[in-house]
Symmetry: C2
Subunit: 355 residues, 2 copies
DNA sequence: TCTTAAATTGTGTGCGCACACAGAAAATCT
DNA sequence: AGATTTTCTGTGTGCGCACACAATTTAAGA
């Protein structure tokens, strides 16, 4: 039998109102009675009935989310996860509104807009370090709980971070490449299409990647890092890589630090690709295609959908259910090859409908 | 604003009772009114409030689970997942009772016991094919929904299967071994400690493993399969393997089809291990230890915790929330190396507390 | 047409909890 | 001691829904 407040009240010889006061620490209870009630509560093993509690509270929870560039597949998947969470928590009165931004200036504008709408909680990816930290501070000043996804910042005033350990994802990439290339060859770490300067997680990945090769004894691998900017065309990329090949004839692998590995594959010739061991991120369509045709060797899954999903759920957990939230929640670094790819792409399993 | 039954009733010019009858298809509603109500419902986008609904129903859900050998780590983890689910659905009135069995005879005894207790739903792993199928039929006759975990059977009369695609896990294992061994060497597939004859999933793994090597062109690998029985000691295993090494001097890898890979490692000498590429299952303590010291090369994670967790949640979804349940839910085939191991071991992320 | 049965519709109560408010008891002040 | 404040405790209502039961309308029978 489930224990109700009424049961405790009867057992303790008081009314439900008094028990209620004890549970919610509303005060106005004499010490003796308080103690008695608490004793009975632990004795009977009382657990708040979240169902009834939620119904009675009858409150809504407005969550604001700030994402990036809505045409990008990665953020599209994140949005999907958020929608699944929204769907799953609909009956808790959760309302999620999503804004998108494209650059630091836009970021500042949208964050202001979000603050003006006075949401109950906020979730975003602090791709821009400076702006992100400032936004976090603003939220904290207004006591709005904040969840970070995708990019980890050293900010104590947040509810939690949900995403990968970027440093370790660089280590895993290095480990996989270590598998596939000969001794005394070299590896290219490529930041493709992103303003790497301000992106903390890319720097962490590079650190992890380099550290791995520095620490192993069994093989000697030279690591080169390079950035290639957004605006350039496939032809530019081709020429750029040709330059790298010439400068480093012993190059046997490329680690693309984001989801753009397909761009590398698509600008090279077959005979060039055959010699190259390529590791990238994210199960987006072109990447999977090249994985299946063996041009990309490994992909690391960043679980964008799960990031979005868990972000929302953690907010609900914290605010509505008053549960403790783990401050740092590292998602797994899934190693994906052709043979296990499908199970990550169709990963509905991760999102139980009951909520 | 959330739409309530009352809103629909007002809009359609009827009482809440009538709307209720339409929603639950209780009949006794004139066709004209029924149509009108349904129209208003879709118009306003009505969604049943699960919170209020659950509270009003005030029913309990008794789930019986049958697991194996409670000292085994794998089933221990499964139990953990079940407990997490139980915890998460406590307020829905879910009560889970777990029984353990050790052999086919015991299985039959325990299933009888379960049926006698008339549970609302049943979950178990049909390790014994014959007995499993018979149990499923019994459940079906009594219209008790049944969830299978871990071992997939071709049984249409079940609610769903949750676990890995065993065939494909054999394929992935082969792929990983393919990575690590030279041309014209051979691989041993080892069924350790289990009565492989009656275990469907072990046969599927073997099929996948063999198929992979049969289909690839780039390398020629000979596959040997062997069973080694439960009762034997480490010394027996040592002698057995020595025999295999003599018979197949070109042996370069061992695929242990269950969680006992550590037993192989622990009975061999360093110089023997150095030549061997070992792939096994499950993130149990001894396996992880050998993975970290490079004696085991890859582990495949079977997600026992998630199996247990999702099994219970799917039952709740089906019975209490009346949601559609996916009949086959394959969990991912996580490829685990030292560098990404930790994130799978501490995978609380997969179990959102909100439910 | 009136009676009775059948079909259809409306009303009331409880699920367990949160919270506002009413009420009782104790403490403080004239 | 009586009046007043302060502290403490009990009661009632609503959250949205499910379901039993009452009330009404319609159809069928005499």
């Amino acid at each position: 039998m489930r224990i109700r407040i009424k049961d405790i009240a009867d057992q303790a010889g008081v009314s439900v109102g008094t028990v209620d006061r004890v549970i919610h620490k509303r005060g106005n209870v004499s010490p003796a009675v308080k103690e008695k009630v608490e004793k009975v509560m632990t004795q009977l093993g009382y657990r708040r009935n979240i169902i009834a509690s939620t119904l009675a509270l009858n409150r809504t929870l407005r969550i604001s989310v700030l994402l990036f560039d809505n045409k990008d597949y990665f953020w599209e998947q994140t949005r999907l996860g958020i929608e699944k969470a929204q769907d799953a928590t609909h009956h808790y009165g959760v309302e999620v509104s999503i804004l998108y931004c494209e650059n630091p200036g836009d970021f500042r504008k949208k964050t202001k807009q979000i603050l003006d709408s006075r949401p109950d909680a906020i979730m975003f990816a602090p791709l821009y370090k400076e702006e992100g930290l400032r936004f976090i501070e603003e939220c904290h000043n207004r006591s709005i709980p904040t969840v970070l996804i995708n990019t980890q910042l050293d900010a104590p005033d947040t509810l939690c971070y949900i995403g990968q350990d970027s440093y370790q994802s660089g280590v895993v990439a290095a480990r996989l490449i270590h598998f596939g290339i000969p001794d005394h060859s070299s590896a290219l770490l490529l930041n493709l299409d992103s303003s790497a300067a301000n992106a903390q997680h890319l720097m962490d990945k590079e650190r992890g990647f380099r550290d791995y090769f520095n620490e192993i004894q069994s093989k000697s691998v030279h690591v080169y890092a390079a950035n290639f900017e957004h605006e350039k065309s496939q032809n530019d990329l081709r020429n750029f890589l040709s330059g790298v090949f010439e400068a480093h004839p012993d190059l046997r692998s490329i680690f693309v630090t984001n989801s753009r590995a397909y761009r590398v594959v698509e600008c090279l010739k077959e005979d060039e690709l055959e010699k190259l061991f390529i590791v990238g991120f994210d199960l987006i369509e072109p990447n999977i295609r090249h994985l299946k045709s063996n041009r990309i060797n490994f992909l690391i899954n960043q679980n964008p959908t799960l990031q979005g999903y868990l972000g929302v759920l953690n907010i609900v957990n914290h605010i509505l259910l008053k549960k403790d939230v783990t401050p740092i929640q590292y998602l797994p670094l899934d190693i994906v090859v052709v043979e296990n790819c499908e199970y990550y792409v169709n990963s509905d399993y991760a999102f139980p409908a009951v909520v």
